[in-house]
Amino acid sequence: MAPPENRDTRSLADEDLMHLVAKAQPGAFEVIYERHSSAAFSLAYRMVGTRNAAEDVVQEAFLNLWRSGGRYDRARGSVRTWILGIVHHRAIDALRRATVHDRRRTGDEGIAERLEARERTDVQAAQREESKIVRAAMDNLPAEQCQVVELAYFGGFTHSEIAELLDAPVGTVKGRMRLALDKLRGSLTGGLGEVRT
């Protein structure tokens, strides 16, 4: 249950909340966390593969946001995009530096380690709808294009590593990435706007 002083902050837009976060107001940060933690955790979990490692990434990302909230610039995109960018960046750091994978445990979290988010708010329902749209667009990509995007964005592999893995020239891998993003752009144009408005 939110403390009484948070009731007003809950009606504020993300961008306005960030002004309060920049002034080190925990209540505003808490609202931001509640709005975007599911998306952040989902992305981190998809990338690093275990609950513990995903929690580390999300904790690091949100504390980073708390400590540097004054740097948010709304001209550069939404708060959500900014937060997920931080999470992605942290997860890639973790993957490329590999230490996080030492924490991965096999069998201790079970095959069914899923924490299905409940659609408690309109925001979460919209996020789930957006998830469906993006996933459908990914599913419509040719397999070899989807594969390089998955390996790069969610696997944290560089195009050189992917080229070695696929026995393909680097130029081919980069070309597939561009084709994939081109097609995704075409598929997503309009669809996400309807969800976000």
Binding site: V57, A98, D102, R104, T106, Q147, L151, T158, R178, L181
Partner: protein, 247 residues
Amino acid sequence: MSEHAPEFTDSAASYVLRALPPEEVAGFEAHLATCAECRSEVQRLQPVADALPSSPDQLAAPPELKDRIMSVVHAEANLLQAAGPQADVPARRTPADATGERRRRFGLSWFGRPGLALATALVALVLGGAAGAALFGGGNSARTVTAQTVPQGASAKLLVRDQGGHSTLVTRRLPTPGSGRVYQVWLQRGNGAPIPTNALFGTSRNGSASVDVPGSLKDVDRVLVSSEPVGGSRAPTRTPLISVPTA
């Protein structure tokens, strides 16, 4: 204004996916400053990359995670308050901040506020170092291992990063696992029983697949794949059809 350089063809896509090798990032960012074509391509593709975080299944963050984060936030806020107004002055934005590339936005300093640097250090001490500890470190080298055993006509490779267990198995021309079945990844130490993982996967129409192999491969000798009933198994129900040595 410099001309577009051929070596950066399609680098914009790799860049927005953060797949440029680290040693190439600075060169490409320097190129971006002078190449309108590549800048335009990055601007065109960036929104697509920004949409990708939406594609994973949406999961609830564990409640205890919020408790941990908020305990740090409240502790730091209290310290800032105790330190007085000077501690709460955001760092002045520098020209580099204002014109920096997208990546720099995410390379955020923990010490954007002078007072917060002290507060952070104090809280890190108070909380046993958990808040301020660096989570990640180590090197970054990867090697590729080719599978010794695969179905006829198929191939499989394992990409392993040293100093950690992150690995990815990639298959080509692998037959489908069969109706009501999935492929499951197993880890094997010596001649011991295969250890189940939660890595379950199917294949595309051309038999290609990419799957992250969970768990450190530090003491693992082989990565195996077998066809199992949907949902996976605790022990292989069929003979593994892929075997990849880890070394």
